[in-house]
Assembly symmetry: C2
Homo-oligomer: 314 residues x 2
């Protein structure tokens, strides 16, 4: 069973009577005249991170960032969150303070409040955050239509490159900084809620997250590799370090850019509104996903990270 | 720093602008004409449980039960929940199915829906649940007044006895059953929301949880040990197995009975309503907690379990 199969199993077994449940970046429940969005996401030591690679303050920031990103991916505004923290006995009170200093700074940055939580000793550090947000018009994964354009708010692959560099023993680089400090696209997410037909944040790799939109929407897509935002600096680093640029860009993960589909008529209006993004392809009627570069069809790399199949990372 | 100090530190550093945040069994936010309650609670392998002592189905049930109990402790109704599940590679797909079979059965029992979640590989099993409920009149910890009576919905110490038996190698007993299958007091909680001045569920030990009410309320209490519901069977098992009955009853933990305070005039009305509970003492004006048995003041045992001080359990 892969993640998709598991999600389908759960959706069948656990129908949600009050709104939209399992299967999107957040659940959606209509309460008090608006839609309440709730999402939950966790970081586990030695699965999502190694303690030597990130400070405790950075970890707290990252755990909150990935949740804020889930709300942004629904076109929502994050309001407040709950924290379950499993803390190893090997860490001390100073570490705990550093964690909460980072959490407070991150909470201020994204204007969200800590509303409650639970704390426990744990053999390994883990951080599970549940975040509450709201939106007047939540954007789901299932709204992509043939003819829509595929948009992306910024570059992918840079965080994955940073991770490769950390694993290779490097400690500083612009890409390591991107890996350590994910930037959820809050403002763009809220703006896109008025335009996008479907949206997701790129957490597990561009193509894997795109297939989630396509599967939910019953559609296919054609992506033009040349239209993807790949910087000369990124390209150069890949070449120097012998890394497959395309694999990182298409399947890297932890980018937290927003990937969306949009009707052409609305895309023209969005363009006039002056928001930065890239049109990287279009939605097709078939169920296939293809990536072309200079007219030539690329062999698609392993799509991205799946907890049900994947080797542990890092 | 003990747990209380840690909670105070967090309350100062993380003010919650939208309602009541850290410091009670659940947060309280007024939304759409009612109060939304949210609580989060987790179970961690080798801290809260050992895999050999509980089946995966029982673990799923327990993880949900402790959260349903938090909502009951606020006088609320549980509605739906979110699950973060960290799953060791040593467990297989069958184990995962068994977990979700147990979760589904528990969700049906307490009439709550799974609304979302996150799944990850993890070195040790952990289960973090965030639950959403509602109440027209949430009962907090801080409402106890001198002169109020102290009430308890049922016996304490039985789960702790069951745990001791498991650790001693026993596999079956009525108390092990209590330990494996906590029963949140949902209906009594909702009923008590109309009467109680303060309420908490007994998760970490009767006296420790009582001190939480007293500290939040700025009050003291006198408890009569003879008035505590202690069955002859429990007493006999403690005697036979050489366990200190009073320590288990007063500091055992994982009971999930409701501990509440109530004005005497309302207690008479509650009594007429026919709900089962025990008056075990009264709230006093001082800041002290004393326990008496036949007029003699008991030396209070170590109050209960505190993740900031305690040795790991089991």
């Amino acid at each position: 069973m892969d993640e998709q199969g598991f999600v389908e199993f759960l959706k069948r077994r656990f129908p949600f009577r009050r709104g939209l449940g399992i299967g999107d970046d957040a659940s959606v429940v209509r309460i008090g005249g608006a839609f309440q969005l709730v999402s939950t996401d966790m970081l586990v030591e030695d699965v999502h991170f190694r303690l030597r690679d990130l400070s405790l303050a950075d970890l707290a920031e990252k755990a909150l960032a990935v949740n804020v990103s889930d709300i942004a991916a629904m076109g929502g505004r994050s309001l407040y969150f709950y924290l379950c923290l499993g803390f190893p006995a090997g860490l001390d009170l100073g570490d705990l303070r550093r964690f909460f200093v980072g959490l407070r700074r991150a909470a201020a940055k994204w204007d969200v409040d800590l509303a409650g939580g639970d704390f426990s000793r744990s053999p390994k550090l883990f951080i599970a955050v549940t975040i509450v947000g709201e939106s007047a018009r939540p954007v789901r994964r299932c709204g992509a239509r043939p003819g829509d354009l595929v948009g992306l708010t910024g570059p992918t692959g840079e965080s994955a490159l940073g991770l490769r560099q950390l694993l290779a023993g490097k400690t500083r680089s612009p890409f390591i900084r991107v890996h350590r400090h994910p930037q959820p696209q809050c403002e763009k997410g809220r703006r896109l809620s008025r335009y996008a037909s479907a949206m997701i944040d790129v957490s597990d790799g561009l193509l894997l997250d795109l297939t989630r939109i396509l599967r939910a929407s019953g559609a296919g897509a054609e992506i033009d590799y040349e239209k993807l935002p790949v910087s000369a600096r990124f390209r150069g680093a890949c070449r120097r370090e012998g890394l497959a640029e395309r694999d990182l860009v298409l399947a890297g993960g932890e980018d937290y850019q927003l990937l969306f589909t949009i009707a052409p008529i609305l895309e023209r209006r969005l363009r006039r509104a002056g928001m930065g993004y890239h049109v990287i392809g279009r939605v097709t009627g078939g169920q296939r996903l293809s990536v072309r570069e200079k007219g030539r069809r690329l062999r698609i790399p392993d799509l991205g990270y799946d907890h049900f199949r994947g080797a542990e990372k890092p």
